[in-house]
Assembly symmetry: C2
Homo-oligomer: 375 residues x 2
C-alpha cells in the first residue's frame, strides 16, 4: 500500500493575477458562490437554476430562443468534444479550418469519431476568407464546417459572417470554437447563423473551469435528432443530456453542482454589465495594453484588423530569455502570463485580458512589472 | 436574440441535508477551499498540488505505489468512461457483470467503444460468485472484467477477493466501479489486485462533483502503453493525460482547478481521520439507521452480509405514496433522500450515509422526520 507523506499542508496558493491564456482571475462574487452548500442535482431548486443558466447562456451566445444551451460537465475541451461527437457519424465529411493549435485539436478529435476529415490550412496567425471555404466546399461537400472564432494560440480573430453564408449555401452546418471570445466580444450566434458553438468558463466569463458553455441551434438539433447511430461518447451524449436539461428531467449524470453555481453567478454579472459595455471594456483595456507594449519596444504579432481584444500574442525581442522573464513576473510580482503554444513556443507571449482580468489596473501593473524586469 | 428575464436572483438555495444517493453534504472546510482564488493550471504551485492529490488518491484507493492516479476532469460518469475507453480497442472482448443500473451503464459505454461485450447477469440486489465469473471466462476469454463494488442502484456490496483471483488466473484485468465505496469502505486496490478503479468525489469523499478519482495499476498501464490505436475519446485520453499529470507536464486540457482544490481538502480530511476510523464511522452510523428503520416497520432490501454501509435501499410499505413522503422530507425538513432508479423506481428508497453525511445526528434527524410524516 502507498505510504503517504505524513503531513499535507493547508491549501494556501499565492494571490496570482491571471493574465495568461486562461484561467482568468475570478471575481470575489463568483468565488463566494463556489462555497455555497450543495443541493441535489435533481432538487427542484437546482432545476430552477438549470433553467436560469440555460437562459443566461442564450444571452451571452446571442442565441436564438429555439437554441438548446447547456453547461457541459467538464472544462472547455469537453465542450469542444461535445460539439463534435454529437454531430458526427462514421464517415461523415467534416471540413476543419486550421490556423492554430485548437484547429489541430479539432482535427484530431473529429478523426477519433471516424469523421472523413478534410482540413484547410492557412499559416498560424492568419484567418480564412469566405472564398477559400467556398472553393473547398465545392469539391468536398461537408456536413459540418468547424472553425475557431478566437484562436487562443495565435490571438487572431476570425470574421464569420461571410463564411456562414457560404457554409449554409453549401448546406453544411457551421461549428464555431468561441473559447476565447464568449463574453469578451460578440459571438452573435443568431446574427451570424452559427449552428453549434462552445466555450470555456475560465476565459472571458471568469468562472472557474468545470462547466463549459455549449449552444446548439435548431438545424443542429434536427441533425442530432436524425442520427442513425448512438453518439460514440456516453458522458457527452446530447441525445440523453437534452432529456436531463430539458423538460423530461431524466437523470443522466450528476452535474458539477458548484461549477454550475459559479457559472450562474458569472453569467449574471455579464448580464448586469450588459454585453455592449462588456465588449467595450475588453476593447479599451486591450488598447491600453497595446499602447503600453509599444513603449517597451514590444508589439503585437497580429495586425490590428484581426487582433483579438481578449488575448494578445506579443512578439519577443531578439535574445530575450522569455522563460526567465515569465518566472520573474510570477515569482516577484505574482503575475501570470503565458508562453507560446505549439509552433509559437518560445516565439511569443500570450497576454490575456479576459473577463474580470480585463481591468485598467491590471494592465498598468503588468506594464510596470515588465518595465522593471526588462530595464 | 434571446430575450432574457429582466432579473436573476441571488443564488440562495435551502440548506439541504443530503442523505440521498449523492451528492453528500460537503464539510465547511471543503466548501471554504472552493472559494480560494485560482492559480493557473501550469503554475508550479498547482503542480505541487497535483502531486499531493495523486498521492492522497493512492492512499484512499489503498493503491500500490506504482499505480497512476488522477482526478478525472468531470463527474463520476466521466471517470467511468475514462476507465473503459482507455483500455478498449475495437473488438476487444470485455466481460461486464450486471446486477444494477450502473452495470447496465458500463455495457452501454463499452459498446460505444466497440468492445465485444459479453454480459453476465444476476438479479438486481444480488452479487456475483467467483465460480460464475470463472465459468463465463472459460468460454469467453475476456481482456477486461468490469464489476461494480458498491451498486448505487441496489445497495449491494460485491466481494472482490475471489473474483480477482479468477480474473487474473484467466489473464484478464479487473476493472472496478468504486463510486459508492471509495472513502466509506475499503477498496483495497493493492490487496485485492484491482487493475483499474474509479469513483466520484461527491459520495463517501464528500467533495463537490467535478473531479473524479481514477486509479490505474501497473498491468493496466502496460496495456495502455501497448495500444495499437488512439483512444477514441480525446478529453479522457490517458496516453496524453499521463504526460500532463506525470513528470513531463505537457498541457492537455485545463484542469478544473477549484474542484481539484476541493478534492485535495476532502482527501486530506480522510487522511487525517484515517481509513480504519472512517470505515468504522460509516458502519456504525449505518447500523444506527438500520435499527431505527425497524422501529418504523421498514427494512433494508439487501441482506446484512452483502449490505452497503454507505447506501441503504429501503423496502417501501404497501400503499405508501413514496413521492409525497420524499417531497415532505425535502420541503418540510430540508432532507433529501433518493427514490429508486431503473427497475427499482417506486419500489425502494435509497438512503445515503456517505462521507460528511455519515453522522449520528443526521440519522436521528431523518428518523425523527420520517416518524412525524408517517404517523
Amino acid at each position: 500500500m502507498a505510504e503517504p507523506a505524513t503531513y499535507y499542508a493547508d491549501l494556501n496558493p499565492s494571490p496570482r493575477l491571471l493574465l495568461g491564456a486562461g484561467p482568468s482571475s475570478v471575481h470575489p462574487r463568483v468565488l463566494r458562490v463556489m462555497a455555497t452548500p450543495l443541493v441535489g442535482h435533481l432538487d427542484p431548486q437546482f432545476i430552477t437554476l438549470m433553467n436560469d443558466v440555460q437562459q443566461l447562456l442564450k444571452f451571452v451566445f446571442e442565441a436564438p430562443e429555439d437554441a438548446f444551451t447547456i453547461p457541459v460537465s467538464g472544462t472547455g475541451t469537453a465542450a469542444m468534444e461535445a460539439a463534435l461527437c454529437n454531430f458526427i457519424e462514421e464517415d461523415d465529411p467534416v471540413l476543419i479550418c486550421v490556423n492554430g493549435y485548437f484547429g489541430e485539436r479539432l482535427v484530431d478529435m473529429a478523426q477519433r469519431y471516424r469523421a472523413d476529415v478534410r482540413r484547410v490550412d492557412v499559416p498560424w496567425g492568419e484567418v480564412f476568407s469566405a472564398s477559400q471555404i467556398n472553393d473547398t466546399l465545392s469539391s468536398f461537400p461537408a456536413k459540418i464546417v468547424a472553425i475557431v472564432h478566437a484562436e487562443t494560440s495565435t490571438g487572431a480573430l476570425q470574421p464569420l459572417e461571410e463564411i456562414s453564408e457560404v457554409v449554409h449555401a453549401h448546406g453544411a452546418l457551421l461549428l464555431v470554437d468561441c473559447v476565447t471570445s464568449l463574453g469578451g466580444l460578440s459571438v452573435g450566434m443568431e446574427r451570424v447563423g452559427i449552428d453549434i458553438a462552445y466555450s470555456g468558463a475560465q476565459k472571458c466569463l471568469s468562472a472557474p473551469p468545470g462547466a463549459s458553455p455549449l449552444a446548439i441551434g435548431p438545424r443542429a438539433l434536427e441533425m442530432l435528432d436524425k442520427r442513425q447511430t448512438k453518439v460514440a461518447n456516453w458522458y457527452l451524449d446530447m441525445t440523453m443530456l437534452t432529456k436531463y436539461w430539458g423538460p423530461e428531467r431524466i437523470y443522466h449524470h450528476t452535474a458539477p453542482i458548484s461549477s454550475v453555481y459559479a457559472l450562474y453567478e458569472a453569467l449574471r454579472m455579464a448580464y448586469e454589465e450588459g454585453l455592449g459595455a462588456r465588449f467595450k471594456r475588453h476593447r479599451d483595456n486591450a488598447h491600453l495594453l497595446w499602447d503600453g507594449l509599444g513603449a517597451l519596444d514590444m508589439k503585437p504579432l497580429i495586425p490590428l484588423d484581426r487582433r483579438l481584444p481578449s488575448l494578445t500574442t506579443v512578439q519577443l525581442p531578439q535574445g530575450l530569455d522569455e522563460v526567465a522573464v515569465r518566472s520573474r513576473l510570477l515569482n516577484d510580482y505574482n503575475i501570470e502570463i503565458a508562453g507560446g503554444l505549439g509552433a509559437f513556443k518560445g516565439k511569443v507571449w500570450r497576454i490575456g485580458l479576459m473577463g474580470h482580468s480585463s481591468r485598467a489596473e491590471n494592465v498598468i501593473t503588468l506594464l510596470g512589472a515588465l518595465e522593471r524586469i526588462l530595464s
